[in-house]
Symmetry: C2
Subunit: 438 residues, 2 copies
């Protein structure tokens, strides 16, 4: 029992730990040699005291070496992954991935599931009937080779120690802080053979980073760990006091992403998607600069190649192509409830956490990993910050399936909108690009 | 598994918790309804983030109500306990308790065992052959009534939730911080029927409080929780860059305390003991002021009544009275090793932690609760800060029993003494009295 106490005490007192101490801990957790109460106490101390870059890197390396690492040695260009760190309505990846794949970027994607206010790409694709996320590693590699994109969740083959650590953190209230999150994210990606990563950092009340300083700190951690693991990092920080687009929820978001790929859909979603696709092309070394990447991305969307690539990859993973042609047929709850404003004025602020709670209350996300979710429910947000609103306007429409969950969802949604008599500034969407794509 | 997560997260983020949340947690720990990993994570967050006075009080109340509470309703005066918070060589209680009992103070003492650098009164009394610390609660109460003093350790009848919490903290590296320590200390004392508590706060490199600010913070916590539990608080803060007296170790300390009771022994031990005994008389409402208490205490020592009371109480708990008459016969390891200085000059500093490590290495204290200790070993410190020393002088003599433990103990002891060519100031012994005895 005593073996780990000195390590725990030193982290409790805020000391930085040596690489071999961290790898020793992670290996012992993996072998189930650390009593859970000691592991939990240690992880709580880590989350409260934080990790420096070297410690974060040590965790990432230890996570990575706990499982298999895939290699795509036959590719001319480095395989790239795309990640979104939180953010309500973050469906730009659904568009950006096939857009970049049109030009030959290879995309072995290890995606997350929705958790609390964070939407997960895995759940969004699963809104398409038949879509399989349980590919074997051999199927995964073959799909990347054949269609350019494959999407799986983390399996016990890839960075399994990170799964154990994360389960323990989730069960003991220590999921806060970004360092372990970054270490885990990059370890999972690296294990799947990725050599580059484009990240959208959602910044604001609906994002993981609450402000620009937190977003920069997250980017710094990504750079530090990425450099060590040989993963090129790029991406953008996006404003997320507003949800992206109108749709929150798996089916609704898939529908909205398809609309953009058909030349319809909201401009903000397209803008972020084009920006991310351009970054994928730059990091993937297929274009010289971001402007060139944007042009290519817009072309592939305009001429339908991006939508065709989405259909190719989705059907390759078992998804129903018909549903992509007629996205209004994606599974949808039957209930509709409008939240209507009693005030006229300007929409001054949206509380992303309250919208996230509403979505969670409808059953669209999970409180804990392993919970079930409902792809059919969601929110359709009609107004953005800065919009003029009149008494009687609908602010958001809830798409519901279980009646017992509606009241709590409406209550949260009603609390999410602040209307003021003063005009409010519209927000800038892409706050900055960072990394090798700047 | 999820029940406690919100509470853990809120403490992780530094929020203050409500009394019923804390009592709910402590009760659930007691009923073994909190998964150990969640309890460990919560306690780590508590220790790092700290507790305010209300939270500390809530823990104390919850600990107290988890077991029995003894009552001594027949006594005219409130029963008092005496506590020492850390400090090497803290044997003043051995003298102060019988001195105060001479005048009728009733002393139901719940004492600690030695842990790391903190000596425990229970172990010191157990150096007397035959001394029983496992009295039943009925025997304990009867002994307080008949002799004025009884000493037991915490049993599973008294504040058992505190025992569980403390075991978990010890096993998971979260014993730091003073708030939970104070809550636990006062809950144990209150459970044994105490209505007043005199505390010696040892301050310096060999004490729990490293400086006066920490000592004051500890005193403030004692007052806050004491007021809530109806326990009058008083005591003193003593300088503990120096060990108290010469002796560190159970038999050696018992021998030194008896020497003081015989009118011999070092002046600093006597001074602290008289000071504490006076505080016991004040808190016990038997004298009007501290000066009067000091006079009575000195009288009881000078005329042998205090020594007689010690013998009465020790033999009442099964201890061998002969050993008290001839304390050089107390069990003692056979080995003697002197640490001799190679430098001449002035003793400028003593590193109490290094001396504590030396004692620990000899086997005199425990690394963990439940470990065994050796009453026979110890250190006899010959020099105090400010003393002039000549090359070849012995700084400390180690009393050893197991050869395999000697080298590490000598190494630590050698590191404990800083000798400088400059004269160093002697230290003030009693830094201040506090509470109702000031």
């Amino acid at each position: 029992m005593a073996e780990w106490i000195d390590l725990i005490i030193r982290k409790r007192e805020g000391e930085a730990l040596e690489p071999e101490e961290i790898s020793g801990f992670v290996e012992a957790v993996q072998r189930e040699e650390v009593p859970v109460e000691q592991a939990a106490a240690f992880l709580m101390a880590v989350v409260i005291r934080g990790l420096d870059e070297q410690e974060t890197t040590s965790f990432a390396r230890a996570f990575l070496s706990s499982g298999q690492t895939l290699r795509f040695n036959e590719f001319t260009y480095p395989p790239i992954d795309l990640g979104e760190t939180g953010g309500l309505g973050g469906k730009a990846a659904i568009i950006a991935l096939p857009t970049a794949a049109v030009y030959g970027v290879k995309l072995p994607v290890v995606a997350d599931r929705s958790l609390r206010h964070n939407g997960g790409l895995l759940d969004k694709f699963e809104a398409v009937p038949g879509f399989r996320t349980d590919l074997s590693l051999a199927e995964f590699q073959e799909s990347v080779r054949s269609t350019g994109i494959a999407v799986i969740g983390q399996t016990m083959d890839l960075a399994p120690a990170e799964i154990r650590v994360n389960q323990l953190r989730a069960n003991t209230g220590s999921l806060g802080g970004v360092s372990l999150t970054v270490a885990g994210l990059l370890a999972r990606k690296a294990a799947a053979g990725t050599r580059g990563l484009v990240v959208e950092i959602a910044c604001g009340s609906g994002g993981l980073a609450k402000n620009l300083a937190e977003a920069h700190s997250l980017a710094d951690d990504l750079f530090a760990v990425g450099e060590y693991l040989g993963i090129r990092i790029g991406g953008c920080i996006t404003e997320r006091d507003n949800p992206l687009g109108h749709a929150i929820g798996d089916s609704l978001e898939m529908q909205e992403a398809i609309a953009v790929l058909k030349g319809e859909g909201p401009a903000d979603v397209k803008e972020v998607a084009v920006n991310l696709a351009a970054s994928l092309l730059v990091i993937g070394q297929l274009v010289a600069d971001h402007a060139q990447g944007r042009n290519l991305a817009q072309e592939a969307i305009a001429d339908g190649r991006a939508l065709a690539k989405l259909k190719e990859f989705v059907t390759n993973q078992g998804g129903d192509g018909q549903a992509l042609d007629n996205p209004e047929q994606l599974p949808r709850g039957q209930g509709r409830r409008d939240v209507v404003t009693q005030r006229s004025g300007y929409l001054k602020a949206i509380d992303g956490a309250a919208l996230g709670d509403s979505w969670l209350a409808l059953g669209g996300s999970r409180i804990r990993r392993g919970d079930s979710t409902d792809h059919r429910v969601g929110l359709w947000v009609h107004k953005k910050i800065g919009d003029k609103v009149e008494r009687g306007d609908t602010l958001v429409t809830l798409h519901t399936s279980e009646k017992s969950k509606v009241d709590a969802a409406i209550e949260s949604a009603e609390e999410a909108f602040l209307i003021s008599p003063e005009p409010a500034d519209k927000r800038r969407l892409i706050l900055e690009n960072f990394g090798r794509v700047r």
